[in-house]
């Protein structure tokens, strides 16, 4: 990503302008999840703005979940919200699944029977839906 120099005389604080630039870059694909952002010092020198301003922008972005700061290696674009939420849901579903299958097994149900039960339930939903 190519950073533009923020406008100091704008009504918008420099750190907010920086945050906007980064968010915009993510939206248009100039920055992808996993991409590394420049270090605070590097970016500050490059744009000739205070390193505290860069730190503030990064900190806010991290707070908003847009970037992730890993100690020792720097700031990275976080996975997009949707992907993260999906991943969370999938992981939760897997846990629920695991619990249920465990319960059924303890009740004596075998693999084939559990599968058939799931199929029956899913087809029932389909039929209802029709």
């Amino acid at each position: 990503m190519i950073f533009n120099k923020p406008n100091p005389a704008s009504g918008l604080a420099i750190y907010l302008q920086l945050m906007e630039q980064i968010k915009h870059a993510i939206e248009v694909g100039a920055l992808r999840p996993g991409d590394q952002l420049p270090g605070i010092r590097t970016l500050a020198e490059q744009l000739v703005i205070s390193p505290n301003t860069v730190a503030k922008a990064y900190s806010e972005l991290q707070h908003q979940g847009v970037i992730a700061i890993r100690h020792g290696s720097g700031a990275y674009i976080a996975e997009s919200r949707h992907a993260e939420i999906r991943r969370k849901n999938v992981s939760q579903a897997l846990t629920m699944m695991r619990d249920l299958v465990e319960k059924l097994r303890r009740r004596g149900f075998k693999e084939d029977e559990i599968r058939r039960l799931f199929e029956a339930e899913l087809t029932r939903d389909e039929a209802l839906a029709r």
Partner: protein
Amino acid sequence: MIIETTNLAKRYGSTEAVRGLNLSVPAGLICGFLGRNGAGKSTTIKMLLGITRPSSGKGRVFGLPIDDPAASLEIRRRTGYVGEDKRLYGYMTGEQMIRFTRSLYPRWKMDWERQLLREFALPLNRKVKTYSKGMRTKLALLLSLARGVDLLILDEPTEGLDPVMIEQVLQALVRAAAEGTSVFFSSHQIAEVEQIADHVSIIHNGRLLLDGALDRLKESYRRVNLVFPNRPPEKEFSMPGVKWIEADRHSLSVFASHNVDDIVDRARALDAASVDVVPLTLREIYLESLKEEQHALV
């Protein structure tokens, strides 16, 4: 706080150069010290460094009292200074000035010296008295930046420099700040301060007009432009946050430091035909504050 003053004052004969100054500069930041020529910036800086003694009041740098000679010596060990007058020792060459200064600072940073020599391209073999003003400013900055100090106190560090050099200097200050050095620089150029300062202190007629984090100032200062169907009810706006109001026929222009929501509510309650909230640049905040100050004196 890396710099703190309490009612600091300096009188020269019958002139009060600095009066009742209460500075509070946090460490680890870049602080811009704004004010017109003759507002008291240089005098304040000289008091902080022990070059001049305060007439009254107190000041601390690194928590050490500025009016105690032993403490002042310690302050100067940890501070890099560029003064208003950047003439340095005319009879020394650039090289000699660097060697001289280096010998007094055990924490001198050779890497800074080398990098700045590359960037600033100074004629080291020539005597400083043959240098142009811009070259002297750059040498003075090099001498202060390479000292390896915790605090830089710079009086008009970009004076006499062209825009390219100014950017180089600001970049060097940013680099210093990134390495943990606190920067306190005075300027009458608002643009520079707005570009790199985290904290702003504005001095006017020897007194502090404004003091605070730049972002916070920009987030809370607003101009509220109102239009009323009838005579604008100026008196209704004597409320906290309102600094100064300009009235003209049906319009009111309110300069506010905070509390903008309440001001807008009041305007709507008074049936304002139009309410427009406008953010302000540092220049505008500064100039409007000056107007308020003058208005208050009248």
